[in-house]
Symmetry: C2
Subunit: 134 residues, 2 copies
DNA sequence: TCATAATGTTTTATATAGCTAACTTTTATT
DNA sequence: AATAAAAGTTAGCTATATAAAACATTATGA
């Protein structure tokens, strides 16, 4: 709603990671965030404080982390792009899975809502093309 | 050749900018690099030293900047992706030019050679599809 | 319940990339 | 050639994001 004044890629990654942990393990712990993002535990704390300051997560020291509605919305948007882009590179372009994952992970931050929508529609149309030109 | 251990996005942008200045103005000056990248003159010097250390540019204090063969190769690769991606977003997807430019500028760093090649071929095929499914 | 392990936090340090402002060198003008 | 303007450099500062290591808290399990 408050059309957030641009989150860094890193903070978007934190939100996405927290959403995934919430989904797969019900709660997000500092250590799991660190493991998933391949960074150290100590680095996580400061970033959680930032996200809490921006009211994107609920955070109390030594407590579990949960997404606020606004944080969840952003996380889902990022995740959606991530999943779509990875699938595009891997399944449609035939890029190996690891590279597709890495590329999607970088590009998920680059497209705004409108651009992503157009991209998705373009790919969907081509994918459904009965003539299989591609 | 020495399959460089990954340049930062910023350094890639410097190389691309230098190439463009070389092309349009024959030489690249510190001030023009700063103007083009919308940063301050003082910030440029240190980065030029880094690029010189990595033997990607020829740099002497108070002199003109030129790309080494290796620097030029990287710059051309980045530029090629940039041009292609901008065109894809603008002409093919119909994204407004400024957004297409900005998005291309971010994404040009995300795809490796192989992924870009596949992406380019995919778009070319679709673009040439006689059935115009897209 | 108490000791140990696991997890979370804090502090200090590092790297990157930028800015400002003062200073130096080069270029242009007269 | 002398001076002013423009361009380039330097030094010190800032912000972001991370690491390492010491410390604090919580959880586990004997």
């Amino acid at each position: 709603m408050t059309e957030n004044d641009h989150l860094s890629e890193s903070l978007e990654d934190y939100l996405e990671t927290i959403l995934e942990l919430q989904t797969t393990k019900t709660v997000a712990r500092s250590k799991d965030i660190a493991d998933k993002m391949d960074i150290k535990r100590g680095s996580v704390t400061g970033m959680l404080k930032k996200l809490a300051d921006s009211q994107l997560i609920n955070y109390e020291p030594y407590g579990y982390v949960t997404l606020t509605p606004e944080g969840k919305k952003i996380a889902q948007d990022v995740e959606q792009r991530h999943i779509f882009l990875k699938d595009f590179f891997h399944r449609i372009l035939g890029v190996d899975e690891e590279t597709a994952e890495r590329t999607g992970c970088q590009m998920e931050h680059a497209m705004d809502k409108e651009t992503f929508k157009k991209f998705r529609e373009f790919v969907a149309k081509v994918d459904a093309c009965p003539h299989q030109c591609q």
